[in-house]
């Protein structure tokens, strides 16, 4: 599984499970939508690492990598492919 779009569904599901009722598109900025607090941001980082069995490297721990479902999927693809995918 290397296509970034393959990683999006579980990420989207995790977010919507915590914030049901939201209409969330993969390109929506979840921080700009205003419902993500610091607690949930940390949970998101942990969720991505546990679900995809990766350790997000320091240079990837940045707000922009977690801003949208699409970008989080790209992040997972980059990490699992050893950084071959384009960096945001």
């Amino acid at each position: 599984m290397t296509d970034p779009t393959d990683y999006r569904a579980p990420i989207r599901e995790f977010i919507l499970n915590r914030f049901p009722g939201f209409e969330l598109r993969d390109e929506d900025d979840i921080f700009a939508l205003g419902f993500v607090n610091s607690l949930f941001a940390m949970e998101l980082v942990m969720f991505v690492e546990k679900t995809f069995q990766i350790k997000v490297p320091n240079n990837e721990i940045r707000l922009d990598s977690f801003r949208t479902v699409e970008r989080m999927g790209d992040l997972v693809a980059r990490v699992t492919s050893g950084g071959r995918a384009p960096v945001l």
């Binding site: 499970n17 915590r18 914030f19 049901p20 009722g21 993500v36 610091s38 607690l39 941001a41 940390m42 949970e43 998101l44 980082v45 942990m46 969720f47 690492e49 546990k50 320091n58 721990i61 940045r62 707000l63």
Partner: protein, 381 residues
């Protein structure tokens, strides 16, 4: 099996050693340290010898890869003996855990071995004179200055600040927060002891003033401008877990003190232990210590599994255990009557220390709001 422990202790080997350490080297001195407002260096050295400063670190960094469930039991045992000592362990855990989780390879290699042994003692520097739970109101500012940062501001109520070597410092960088690892002897830093505190006075609190302190670029830990959602939340999560476990220890100390006192104390020829209202209080302490430990164990095992649910589990454990410790210690003072107010018995100290746990690492009120928010979110599923 005892009233406060079900089945074999998960810490079977180390627990015995820690228990003896607490019984022999902490409990007999806790009141003296409380009055002196200081933990002696010798005791800190013993924690180093026992490898208890950061046992969760991997062996290559000087730890023993101790699971968080076991770390929690260590903090519970130490909390049973002295909350001031446990407080020092708490903030050191927050700093060492931060370097392990968010540090660069260079920061990990340079700092973790010394944090594991206690050669470097850490302090968590978030609170300020005008911002506690509202951490985003930080007035400390870090400005990029070409080859690093210049930091100016004041941190207050810093546990272990009087003796810390390494500060985990939070500062505003533009509109957001960033975190920095700062040697406490950096020029421009002034450490002022804070004394006369009601609770955990032995934890050697300090105010830390930063006057145009220059930091190298390498001082930054974690993502620039995103410490709030990463370093700060992660460190506070470890802090809450430790405080929760320590609060369970306080309840057990109250139980021990009250069972001992009521067994010996007679009122009009009847032992206090025979009075039904006393027995109810004792029962409540037994139940709350066991319930608190189970909540801590849940949070610890979720940490060991890397499960994000550990964050809410730590909130719940800390809320329950800290408020239960306040109740238990208030009842312990009540059971002891006038003796409860006396320095001849430990319960007044336990009460004062328990109150601290309801304020630090997120106040009780903040926890109530956060936990209730989670309940309402779940109800919408």
């Amino acid at each position: 099996m005892t009233t406060t422990m079900i089945g074999p202790d998960p810490l079977a080997g180390p627990a015995e050693e820690v228990r003896h350490f607490v019984d022999d080297e902490i409990v007999p001195h806790a009141d003296e340290w409380d009055r002196a407002e200081r933990i002696p260096r010798e005791l800190l050295g013993r924690i180093s010898e026992l490898g208890l400063w950061a046992p969760f670190l991997p062996p290559e960094h000087g730890g023993s890869a101790m699971p968080w469930t076991h770390v929690g039991r260590v903090h519970e045992e130490v909390g049973r003996g002295c909350s001031s000592v446990r407080s020092l362990l708490t903030v050191h855990t927050m700093v060492a855990g931060t370097v392990q989780r968010w540090g660069t390879d260079e920061q990990r290699a340079r700092l973790l071995p010394a944090l594991a042994t206690g050669e470097l003692l850490g302090a968590f520097c978030l609170s300020e004179p005008d911002s506690g739970s509202a951490a985003d109101a930080s007035g400390t500012v870090a400005v990029a200055d070409g080859d690093g940062w210049t930091v100016t501001g004041t941190k207050k109520w810093i546990t272990g600040g009087q003796i810390a070597d390494l500060l985990l410092l939070f500062a505003r960088t533009g509109d957001a927060m960033s975190a920095f690892l700062v040697p406490a002897d950096t020029p421009g830093i002034t450490v002022t002891p804070l004394t006369g505190m009601m609770g955990t006075p032995g934890s050697m609190l300090a105010q830390i003033d930063l006057d145009s302190v220059h930091l190298d670029a390498e001082a930054l830990v974690g993502p620039e401008n995103w410490a709030a959602g990463t370093v700060m939340t992660g460190a506070l999560d470890l802090g809450r877990f430790s405080v929760a476990c320590g609060s369970v220890g306080v309840i057990r100390a109250c139980l021990d003190a009250c069972v001992d006192y009521t067994t010996r104390r007679q009122v009009k020829g009847t032992g206090l232990a025979e009075l039904p209202l006393i027995r109810r209080k004792i029962s409540d302490m037994v139940v709350s210590s066991r319930a608190g430990r189970l909540l801590c164990a849940e949070a610890g095992s979720l940490k060991d599994a890397g499960d994000p649910a550990t964050i809410m589990a730590s909130w719940v454990a800390k809320y329950y255990a800290s408020t239960a410790a306040t109740r238990a210690s208030a009842e312990a003072v009540q059971i002891h009557g006038a003796n409860g107010f006396s320095p001849e018995y430990p319960v007044a100290r336990l009460y004062r220390d328990a109150r601290v746990a309801e304020v630090i690492e997120g106040s009780t009120e903040l926890q109530q709001l956060t936990i209730a928010d989670e309940a309402y979110r779940e109800a919408r599923r």
